[in-house]
Amino acid sequence: MRRLGLIALGLVLIALALFARQGFQHENQPGPLPVAPESTATSVRSVPLWFASADGDSLVLEPRDLAEPSGLHPRLAALVAALEQGPRGDGARTLPQGTSLQHAYLDETGLLTLDLSPAFRQGFQGGARVEELVVGSLVRTVSANVPEAKRIRIVCGGAAFTSLGGHFPLDRPLDPDDWP
């Protein structure tokens, strides 16, 4: 009988402890977040992304909050992934579905080589206007967010190629100033 009483007392104490802990937590729970929730997890930055306009005739700017990774490759990979996901507002995706960044190299002259996954070429469908938008959105987005890149070379699956859709040369580095 005394043993049962001790067990009951123990249970009551545990329950009281749990209740007290919950109450303490409630007291210290922070109020409403004063900034957008995504910025609480890690450092975030609003970056300019360029997508095709809804009518597919020009490029439109869409600022978006992205986590701020350290290092060139993660930064560029995040930009390419955001372009691949497409716009959240009006507009249309430019990069073919499945496109991702495999490697990125920035040499001392400011030449940035973007090595994209094979989906970039395999998934491309379009004429000259679409091809111009695809390359333009990539070059504009990268140059706006990586100012140290003075010229951009696009390769795919580790290999250089002549053209994405047969309309504009991609076998030479691109000058961002030529894609205004």
Binding site: D55, G126, A128, G166, H167, F168, D177, D178, P180
Partner: protein
């Protein structure tokens, strides 16, 4: 986010670039500080700016907008209710309910507290005047009249162009904080283009002197800077691009006498052009099908169109027509340009069809070679003209850029072709200057012509109609004949 990139050309460049920070409190001091802030960061084309809001009598900017203005990464610590903005080598730390802002290792006291509203910190605009003026901190300015907080552009400002005419020479002097980053990017007389870094905080001339060699000046913002475009008089024989002696401006000199000046892009003599030999390049071929839409292959359509267009040109213009391919085969660009150059053509047209991201989109576009400039041409002041321009006289054109020597004629061709196609109901059409693959190594005026949008159901049906290809071929032939007659 309530962001507003400042757009439109400012009417004036406000005088008195810097004014010391006034003590807050009095009305007079506030008015003075508003004027000072407007002057320290003038409005203008391409100046980054965000809208401010007034909350309980305090003008504030939302923290996320401020971060965007500064290009800063944001990090929020909910436990201590602090927001850290990191940009370049600097950090700004704001605390909810606190007027103190930590700027790196300094403490700034604002007149009002930073506070939270609608889930976002709000920063009083007096931060603009409180930021340190040394150590490479960005320059911010609050414009109460415009209701915006502006950041001085990283590449500085470009000021009002001045046009000076003297003894047959026209000088265009454009002030810029970074003259070394300015360059000529298009040397066609009708579209002479200069690109600058920075934002435009000046005004274009209301009018130009009657005897000036420039008829029109326009400016537009482009990512990373500005592009000025001029219409240059046909009497101008050449141009020179140099750093001003004070090194705070660039000067474009246009002269009636050729001398040792840079040449404009070659132009044909006025009047009719020859159209004796035409090369048509049916796009794609072989394994490269081009775009596909509802079972229609672009490579097949381009070949059909090229054959129909060849018949039209032979019949209506008596032209000798060569096709780069006459059947369904793979062709490299080198192979195409060899075939294209062999008959020494008067014109080359590469035929394509497009496909849009928007199923409602219609029409097409023509791409022509840009009248670009190779090599650096900004001359230092005080260098004799003949020495300064020696490299220009020996300018070599890489083989792949051969078509740029025919850029003016190519542009005229693109405009004539698109005008006729629009008139005949194949529009909307546009003209774009970008070297297409099809013109690499081509030694003649040419265009890549996207004739229609196959992803548009109606347009596809019209092209595939019994007379569709022939109607299109007739319109293109009319455009070529229009170009032959000098656009008249």
């Amino acid at each position: 986010m309530n962001r507003a990139l400042a757009a439109g050309v400012a009417a004036m460049l406000l005088a008195g670039a810097r004014t010391g920070a006034a003590p807050p409190g009095s009305t007079a001091a506030s008015a003075a500080s508003v004027a000072a802030d407007s002057a320290r960061v003038p409005a203008g084309l391409g100046v980054p700016a965000v809208a401010t809001v007034r909350v309980d009598g305090v003008d504030v900017v939302p923290a996320n907008d401020l971060a965007w203005l500064l290009g800063a990464a944001r990090s929020w610590n909910a436990d201590v209710r602090k927001l850290v903005l990191t940009f370049g080598a600097h950090r700004l730390t704001f605390t909810d309910g606190n007027p103190f802002v930590i700027a790196d290792d300094r403490t700034l006291e604002l007149d009002h507290q930073v506070f939270s509203r609608a889930g976002e910190l709000q920063v009083p605009v007096e931060l603009a005047r409180a930021l340190p003026e040394d150590g490479g901190w960005p320059r911010l300015g609050y414009d109460a009249r415009a209701g915006e907080l502006r950041a001085a552009p990283a590449d500085g400002y470009v000021g009002s162009p001045r046009v000076l005419v003297r003894a047959g020479t026209t000088e265009l002097v454009i002030p810029t904080e970074h003259p070394e980053l300015a360059r000529v990017v298009g040397r066609g007389r009708s579209r002479f283009r200069m690109r600058f870094r920075g934002a435009f905080s000046g005004a274009l001339p209301d009018s130009l002197p009657a005897d000036a060699l420039v008829h029109d000046v326009s400016v537009r913002a482009t990512p990373g800077g500005l592009t000025f475009e001029l219409a240059v008089d046909a009497a101008a024989a050449g141009w020179r691009w140099e750093l001003s002696p004070s090194r705070d401006a660039v000067t474009l000199t246009l002269d009636r006498a050729a001398g040792a000046l840079q040449p404009f892009a070659p132009e044909p003599p006025p009047g009719a052009r020859p159209l004796r030999t035409v090369v048509l390049d049916p796009g794609h071929g072989g394994v490269d099908t081009g775009v596909q839409s509802d079972g229609v292959l672009e490579k097949t359509l381009t070949l059909d169109l090229a054959k129909a267009l060849a018949d039209e040109l032979r019949r209506r213009a008596g032209a000798h027509v060569t096709l780069t391919r006459t059947d369904d085969r793979d062709m490299s660009q080198l192979g195409r340009s060899e075939v294209a150059n062999a008959p020494k053509p008067d014109v080359v047209v590469s035929l394509h069809f497009g496909m849009s991201l928007d199923p409602r989109a219609r029409g097409g576009a023509a791409w022509c070679a840009p009248a670009s400039v190779s090599g650096a041409v900004l001359d230092p002041p005080g260098v004799p003209a003949d020495r300064a321009h020696a490299p220009a006289l020996l300018e070599l054109l890489p083989w792949r850029d051969a078509a740029t020597a025919h850029a003016v004629e190519g542009r005229a061709l693109a405009e004539d072709l698109t005008a006729v196609l629009e008139h005949d109901g194949f529009g909307p059409m546009s003209v774009r200057e970008r070297m297409p693959l099809a013109l690499l190594g081509v030694t003649a005026p040419g265009v890549l012509l996207e004739c229609g949008t196959l992803s548009n159901k109606e347009e596809r049906a019209r092209i595939l109609a019994p007379n569709g290809i022939h109607r299109l071929a007739a319109a293109i032939a009319t455009g070529l004949i229009l170009w032959q007659h000098g656009g008249e």
